[in-house]
Symmetry: C2
Subunit: 333 residues, 2 copies
Amino acid sequence: MPQAPSRRPTILDVARVAGVSKSLVSLALRGDAGVSESTRARISAAADQLGYRSNALARGLVQGRTMLLGVLLTDLANPYHTDVVAGIEEAAGEVGFGVLLAHGRRDAKQLTTQLDTLVGLNVDGVIAVSSWVDRAALQAAMRRTPVVVIGRPEETVEGVDTVANDDAAGAALAVTHLLELGHREIAFVSTSRRPAAEGRRRGYELAVRRAGMTPHTVVAEDVDDITVGVAPLLRSGVTALIANNDLTAVALLDCAHDLGLPVPERLSVVGYDNSTFAALVRPRLTSIDQPRPELGRTAVRLLLQRAGGRTTDRHEVLQPSLVARNSTGPRGL
Amino acid sequence: MPQAPSRRPTILDVARVAGVSKSLVSLALRGDAGVSESTRARISAAADQLGYRSNALARGLVQGRTMLLGVLLTDLANPYHTDVVAGIEEAAGEVGFGVLLAHGRRDAKQLTTQLDTLVGLNVDGVIAVSSWVDRAALQAAMRRTPVVVIGRPEETVEGVDTVANDDAAGAALAVTHLLELGHREIAFVSTSRRPAAEGRRRGYELAVRRAGMTPHTVVAEDVDDITVGVAPLLRSGVTALIANNDLTAVALLDCAHDLGLPVPERLSVVGYDNSTFAALVRPRLTSIDQPRPELGRTAVRLLLQRAGGRTTDRHEVLQPSLVARNSTGPRGL
DNA sequence: TTGAAAGCGCTAACAT
DNA sequence: ATGTTAGCGCTTTCAA
């Protein structure tokens, strides 16, 4: 029968049906040792029959913890997040924690609201996979539950740990790769001034200078108008481009196509993030890979340490790696 | 000072600081009318000072509702889900509901666990953006909170509403589009036997027969070995392919490339889902677009109706549309 | 306008 | 092995 979601059975209902006290039901259902087999069976039967499930709200309230980790995402659509979440889920699962996701919709206010929701639910810790969260919001959250930020916040917040990849090292990897392919004029093209992009830019500039060459940096407002800045570069003899991320790199592939420059024969392009579509576009994109699942696992570890009493801040930096595909090749003649 | 997350202030702490009873704090903080301005100010000040935030667990427990909607996702990495979630969030926000996400990790067991978590938290409704959820799990969930499935479950569950796009109509759109371009030998290539893919296949076959032609259907086990089934088709004069989804379509573009068939000059390809990378791959993919945000909004509407007392089941079907890009063109000679 | 008290469903300490 | 009881933090009557 299509029965309306009637009043949910409580532990008392189960107790009544099984003919025992509610504490015994609680003990039995949670597998406590000191319950006789016969009553345990009776209680399980009653619970099944009623379709009883324990109320997490009540349990959380009395226990003061929920065995839930909250994950705050800036942007669900960003496949980068997905792999980070996978790492979080894996690590959380190993220690018996569930994972609840909240979506900030690329909006600072929404992120704050969602963070509040998670914290209000008494999750036992929050991981913000976002560098956008408002400082004040982080501070407020961190006063009631451990908080870890994955990514590079504009400014660190005392009491909030962070995990990030080494953007400078990643950019340097790209430079090295291109040098090995014989390129001498290598440019960096960015579409952002946020900390991650800037870290990559600085890493690029440093690596290029170290090799005794001159950096060429282009920062465009929008991914749509990079052609304007890039075309002169290409005419002036640049044979390789490093993008601040894969989306920018894809746009660069389009530029190259429009300008009649075959990739990788005449122009090499390196992306950053090694996102899903790096392997989908043609030519397949050489890209810097962040250890995404590892970022997630590390965040969980930091959270657990906090819960275990650590009070000093930690800022972990993980090393990226280069994934070579077909968008880079030897310098053309 | 980097202060450890000490005991969270409760309504009692606020009451003590403000010098009033806890009931008054509750009333004031929720903006109830009958509280004098002066005390209201005093209470707000005390709350701010302590950094007080109401405990959603306690509130939910006493009110019997949480003003939260739970969304169960099969696969975070699937960009299709993202847009559906956007629609859900929009509609939920409009009626004052928050949205909590749980991730099933493409695993039936995990989906069940996550569904249980959401239901255990007493969310006021669950939307499963997934056709993978176990029947029994849906039944159990539906007994304690309204449940809507977005997508095509293998079998419907009494008491559970569904929202889906019209797969057959979508496939028919693709056929019509190709017919208009002059194609006469149109094949359908699928990598799945699940209801969505099958619905599309049937829609395709019907539309093709209606046009007085013979269907050519290939169902591959895996997206990686479609070449085997597709190559003979192409040799036998087929000039257009309809894929069961965009991923399959991208694989078909690769096939075509390997076989030296330029798209769209010699071969046209239509995808399904109009996912993010439909616009990223080269050539850009013509694809059938599901009204994703609308699917989400509709699900919320159904949920609210259930909460409002509706007990009859609803199964909504929304119409897809075709987005023409560069992977389809007039039949070559 | 304010306060006292009951109770949401559960766990946990203490009795028996 | 089982039952009793006291809360967890909050909302919500009801009384003052």
